[in-house]
Subunit: 253 residues, 8 copies
Amino acid sequence: MDEKALRRLLRRVRSGSLSVGSATDQLKQIPFAELGYATLDTHRHLRVGFPEVVLGEPKTVEQLLGIAEALRIRKQTVLVTRLQPDKAEALLKRFPRGQYHSQARIFELKAGRPARAGRVAIVTAGTSDIPIAEEAAVTAQAMGATVQRIYDVGVAGIHRLLRRRAEIQEADAAVVVAGMEGALASAVGGLVGIPVVAVPTSVGYGASFGGLSALLAMITSCASNVATVNIDNGFGAGFYAALVSRGRSRSAK
Amino acid sequence: MDEKALRRLLRRVRSGSLSVGSATDQLKQIPFAELGYATLDTHRHLRVGFPEVVLGEPKTVEQLLGIAEALRIRKQTVLVTRLQPDKAEALLKRFPRGQYHSQARIFELKAGRPARAGRVAIVTAGTSDIPIAEEAAVTAQAMGATVQRIYDVGVAGIHRLLRRRAEIQEADAAVVVAGMEGALASAVGGLVGIPVVAVPTSVGYGASFGGLSALLAMITSCASNVATVNIDNGFGAGFYAALVSRGRSRSAK
Amino acid sequence: MDEKALRRLLRRVRSGSLSVGSATDQLKQIPFAELGYATLDTHRHLRVGFPEVVLGEPKTVEQLLGIAEALRIRKQTVLVTRLQPDKAEALLKRFPRGQYHSQARIFELKAGRPARAGRVAIVTAGTSDIPIAEEAAVTAQAMGATVQRIYDVGVAGIHRLLRRRAEIQEADAAVVVAGMEGALASAVGGLVGIPVVAVPTSVGYGASFGGLSALLAMITSCASNVATVNIDNGFGAGFYAALVSRGRSRSAK
Amino acid sequence: MDEKALRRLLRRVRSGSLSVGSATDQLKQIPFAELGYATLDTHRHLRVGFPEVVLGEPKTVEQLLGIAEALRIRKQTVLVTRLQPDKAEALLKRFPRGQYHSQARIFELKAGRPARAGRVAIVTAGTSDIPIAEEAAVTAQAMGATVQRIYDVGVAGIHRLLRRRAEIQEADAAVVVAGMEGALASAVGGLVGIPVVAVPTSVGYGASFGGLSALLAMITSCASNVATVNIDNGFGAGFYAALVSRGRSRSAK
Amino acid sequence: MDEKALRRLLRRVRSGSLSVGSATDQLKQIPFAELGYATLDTHRHLRVGFPEVVLGEPKTVEQLLGIAEALRIRKQTVLVTRLQPDKAEALLKRFPRGQYHSQARIFELKAGRPARAGRVAIVTAGTSDIPIAEEAAVTAQAMGATVQRIYDVGVAGIHRLLRRRAEIQEADAAVVVAGMEGALASAVGGLVGIPVVAVPTSVGYGASFGGLSALLAMITSCASNVATVNIDNGFGAGFYAALVSRGRSRSAK
Amino acid sequence: MDEKALRRLLRRVRSGSLSVGSATDQLKQIPFAELGYATLDTHRHLRVGFPEVVLGEPKTVEQLLGIAEALRIRKQTVLVTRLQPDKAEALLKRFPRGQYHSQARIFELKAGRPARAGRVAIVTAGTSDIPIAEEAAVTAQAMGATVQRIYDVGVAGIHRLLRRRAEIQEADAAVVVAGMEGALASAVGGLVGIPVVAVPTSVGYGASFGGLSALLAMITSCASNVATVNIDNGFGAGFYAALVSRGRSRSAK
Amino acid sequence: MDEKALRRLLRRVRSGSLSVGSATDQLKQIPFAELGYATLDTHRHLRVGFPEVVLGEPKTVEQLLGIAEALRIRKQTVLVTRLQPDKAEALLKRFPRGQYHSQARIFELKAGRPARAGRVAIVTAGTSDIPIAEEAAVTAQAMGATVQRIYDVGVAGIHRLLRRRAEIQEADAAVVVAGMEGALASAVGGLVGIPVVAVPTSVGYGASFGGLSALLAMITSCASNVATVNIDNGFGAGFYAALVSRGRSRSAK
Amino acid sequence: MDEKALRRLLRRVRSGSLSVGSATDQLKQIPFAELGYATLDTHRHLRVGFPEVVLGEPKTVEQLLGIAEALRIRKQTVLVTRLQPDKAEALLKRFPRGQYHSQARIFELKAGRPARAGRVAIVTAGTSDIPIAEEAAVTAQAMGATVQRIYDVGVAGIHRLLRRRAEIQEADAAVVVAGMEGALASAVGGLVGIPVVAVPTSVGYGASFGGLSALLAMITSCASNVATVNIDNGFGAGFYAALVSRGRSRSAK
């Protein structure tokens, strides 16, 4: 409730068109649903432009069903990430119109059309980075973005990447998914002029230390148009890139 | 040189309007200036939308003068970051129309107007984060952005931040600068719906470990609209936010 | 045995009311029970105000039964933490009056009433932090505290927390349980004037590094009323908060 | 502003005894002083029971003078921690009634009497831990606590500690300051029944890694009445212990 | 396509013997096979002297079959490393002429003779390092090298190593495989005058931290003829040593 | 072969009482048995005073049987550490006179009496440290030491330790086994005047980081008579303490 | 014994109610001297066999003079380690019979002869490790040991070490001092049958990380007769080795 | 001394043409010069193909003069690395024919011609990496290699690198020097077929952590022809590359 709304409400109280009780209620009213084990942020849609997304991995089936129901009732899209297949089945049984993207491990139950966003290029260094890339892709699509997939173009054979340069440059934002030494983020950042969101992956062995080496490489990238999200956080990268693409896409028209 | 340009060039070779020697030259020609100690990427302006920025700290005065001269000749803006005051003096002596932003430690020598970008809010947790915030602010302004400074509003007194929420929300992108536990990035991310670029700072003592703790906190942020750059990388954050703001700003019209 | 007790005992020896043999026995008697594999600190009750609590996870069923029996005989409350369900069953079979708090993974066998303590608010950032929060809650209750649960109010939707501020402020101490970036501890610390005990949790993925990132964030908290315990140490946090609440609660009367 | 106050304000608006403009102002009014480079949290006194404390180390003399002036005007005690001697001189020149505790590196300018707190025992492992211990002691005293200093009683000669056990037990809270292996926190925790606040120090060499080893030892302490603050954070420990002692002290009466 | 080839192509365009369309195609043509989930670098053979090697561990059987087929069609040797036995069976079923080196966990399907390389000595500290050593050995052999195996000669019984010195010195390059403290790399480096490739292994427990300690020891080796590859990267070490041995071997004739 | 033996051999060659061939053989002869996968250091007994001990965990049953056979033939004691129960069964079947210490996870096949060593006290902080302590105890006994076990006397109840002080002081060396904060090593070191060998254990959770915290605490111990071995290395600690005790024990007579 | 108790005791001596002999006994009895900033453990001599050693680095000259005086009065040897040259001068001025070992950075003021210990070999990997080795040597000599110095025999030229093997084996204990990869400890441990005390040094650059790499290598040493002390802790290693040598030396006679 | 030489020597002893004393001497003789503080490995030239190189940084001028003299007397080239300018002056004064490469920080005193080696390409990511690159270049040249310098071609502007590909490919080995994210090593490795030696540099700030991030990136490189040396170890990389180039260079003829 911003200042303008506040003044309006107060004027209605003064004029008597709003009772003190109702005004108190409105001033007190808060934008979440209390489920006991969860406090759903049901106004995030207004605030951030997309409903709250649910991290499925550590939650029980009962909690997930409860949360999904609470969102569905409020006519909000349900997006459950990092969801194990067996829990997905339980959700699909209750919500048959939902969809489980198995490679991305995302359960999605749409509620109306998302706002239109722009184009997002999703680039991976190797084949093993694809599940995280798919998590980014499904998320960006759920947010209204058009996604271009460019997979397995790591720097150890850099001509593979160079050939796809134009496709990436045409996007409004790029997501780069890479494990091990994570050099692809810098290479893409240097090739194109759009914002790049880098996702380190835990794929790899030895001194990749579960994605730490890739994370450090991406954070210290010499390319200025690279920012980084958490290891394996395909969802976050897809969300961020779609958010960025919204403005950039519309601005081109 | 994209495919269309390539076809055009080849047609001119076929028609004889371009000699094989000239065509070879053009195909070979590459977009950098070799200074021996530096290979300037003079086409970055076209590719990324802003000229190459020079990291001043580890370079000698001679190197900096040479690089600045090479950029000036090409009519490109010169931006030297992390520049020590004594080196700044040497640059100002040679280029009296330049400017040294002492808190931001940036030397700037403008060449024409930057492309117009949008609004960038720059938010700090404490007073000690201001030098990095200024580095972000000066960079974003050099890229054409309008900057709104909101300083010393860390979560340990969160009502200070809440009061400024609307100002941040009105921007096209936000930079959040914080050291120690770096919690401000998540708090801002949760309050507004715009892309947030988080900058951990090395300010602090003990277990802040030179910014590592803030970096880890920002990378693991539960807010999906937060991406992170290197510790103390005010320049990178300002650059990234200005880049994001370009599209978003124009799209709003 | 303090000095006064010692003098009394010696006077009784001098007066003949206590034989040399008995006195020797008493002087030799020491405040622990030796079980071979364990040296129970049976006087901790007097010293610390609560009996020794047993870490169940690495112990065998036989060891646990032996320890529980030794405590029960001494009429002390038995509290076994981090107890796997199958071992809990074995304990319940032997001690049918005991209780297994399955979410908290605590086995409890009460012996009389605990000393009265004050009010403890237990706050979590997410749904996945609840098991550790319950460990804190059950422990604090076993120590005589009244517990107020406030779950899933993380900073990514900070208005959820703001609404519950008064409830937390009314407590004598607060436990804040959070994983990932752990920012909630600083936020709660800044909102209220009571001592806050922060518990990082290992919930999360990627750069949360098993709770290390949350631990570092909590340790470097800018709020001065925050102190931290071990990752996932719900028991320790509940114990500490109840201990603090004892004094604060009585002092308010 | 809680619900009751809100209702009252709204009734006054309805009755006309408060104009819409004034009500808006009051609803907007917020408890801080904006200094440009700092947003002072002037209501912290009400909220936390002690005014905002200023971290002196990274601030300029000008900033410190401005902040101190703003607090003095509001009749709040000024406490500047980690203050270098040369900056202290500048503060003393402007505020001759202030005091610089040189070993603790704290500048203090009192404004009335602090609320009465209880007894705090401050224990160090070695001689080199004394500066941090003094930071804790001066802070606790400024908050109204009575401080008992017990220095250089590390576990490598544990009988030194055992002799002082009673003195520690009589306090309402203890601060334990130790570097290197930090074992003293566990030893004190096991000996007494009061809340212990552990402070790792960066004193030491080799694998003490600037206090990290002591921090890890304290966080993993087997004693349940130990919670930990940041490396070298004497201020935080003194503040926390004094806060805890307030309730415990009054409760004993 | 180098300059000479470029001039030739352009002359053919001018002379009309090559159409603009064909020239465009050739200039665009790139050396990889797109499989959707993989972008095979089929020209690596020409560039690096050995076909692309496939990391088997994280790929599905379907992906592996597709990749192997694509390489076989191009008459390139197939080498799949870190391959689980069950996937190996599936490959063997489809390609009965292939071979699974079970200790080395490598699937190999030869296509003609490799270029001749030199002699590679493969040395291990213990029995447990043998699987990684075999990965190096099978790789080096596939690249045409002759391999000498010298196993279980760690520095804790250094006379075992001294006796084998001459055998190692006669090789063109050595691979040293060791876990725990990794001291063998320095010892071998000091004994012989040939390039040594060190491989830390994750074998071990406690402070070996999954090979990190051995990695650090090898990287900081005081012997100047030691360079290091990733933990457990037997493949990389065998590849590198064989590559080095090619030149050295021929040069001796 | 030392200088004297060398001169003797050479004189026999000159005198013709030793053929060149035999002398060469003797000079070449080396003290190990080559098993292909292992190079047994069969002279270690002479050099170090105890036969080579075999790390069982990463070896196959076939390798273990071969090694044990080779040692038995040479009439040397067989000690296999960190041995899984199923492999132990296979060894017991082949060598029925062997013994499997299940808690210590050691297989032992004696060959004659060990040299007499002194007294070794083995002290643990908790019940969960006992398996590692038993590994130390069985090893020390196999080396001829007399072992005194003092278990579960951690510093969180330090009076338990104080009561056992004399027993520890009477030993020739002490092994201290502790996880979590590892403070017991410093406490024991400060109480007694004998060499202490500290063993960090991986027992624990959270910030114990698999024994790293205990390792750091022990390495930085303020007690000068403490040296440390690897995490969970009960064998090494028992070996070292027995070795130390040999001299000390005999010296007392 | 505080001042009040002291006065009481002295009055009783004056009044004749306490004999001088008894008073002396009482004054000698409590085993520490309280200096305010230090609690000297004056009975450590009896307990550990050597007086308390003072870490000079972090203490002020005043503290050091006070401590030295207190030890000298009690006729105990004074050993101040890690002492800066300027502080050493102040000590030498007050105690002209003292000695400053400048390479070892130790101030020594002898009080009678130390107990006789055995032979200690001190071995370094390089020239740069000598200062730490000297700290060990001076300490061991102060404790009565005979020291054999063997410097600059690192494993990168292992024949240098092999030639000195007999000298090391003849000692009762060895100290091995090495930085960088720290491989020398394992090599020495494998060559001889005596207890080895390993000291990692912070000498080096890059991935030696201030001695951490050497520490990890030594802790994970495959040689069972190696135990480790803190980085740069020459004093601790010399102390430990001398302690071990006492028993072993006498036992050989 | 290998077996053949041994038989020859023994035959001469038998025949009486070599006395027992001389034979003993020869068998004992060892290849180093003892300077007290240093044990020079004077046979390394024969063993490794290049004299021992001296790390200048931690040594005193006196030690350096002594070592240089000892090498000069033996007619061996002197190479002192990481040498501070003031020490270099002292060496130049004594050995006026020496040369100080100031950017590389190497003092060189030639003794005859080095063996001929091949071509080594030295590639840097940025201008700030040049000092380390020069250390590699001077070392490789001292070992007889021809050096090609290719500086400031990092991946953030990858076309700069692509243009220089042929030059690198023509070399026999490449050294890649890069700080921050270190991605250049993978990019070069993927572009060429020669062995690449990667050197991480400590240049950079924030999460580059003194070169650790670059080290991890290089060690986890996906290019199989990349091996890594210590952070800032230009000397080691130049040495290794020159060693590799020797064989490869000759083999091409």
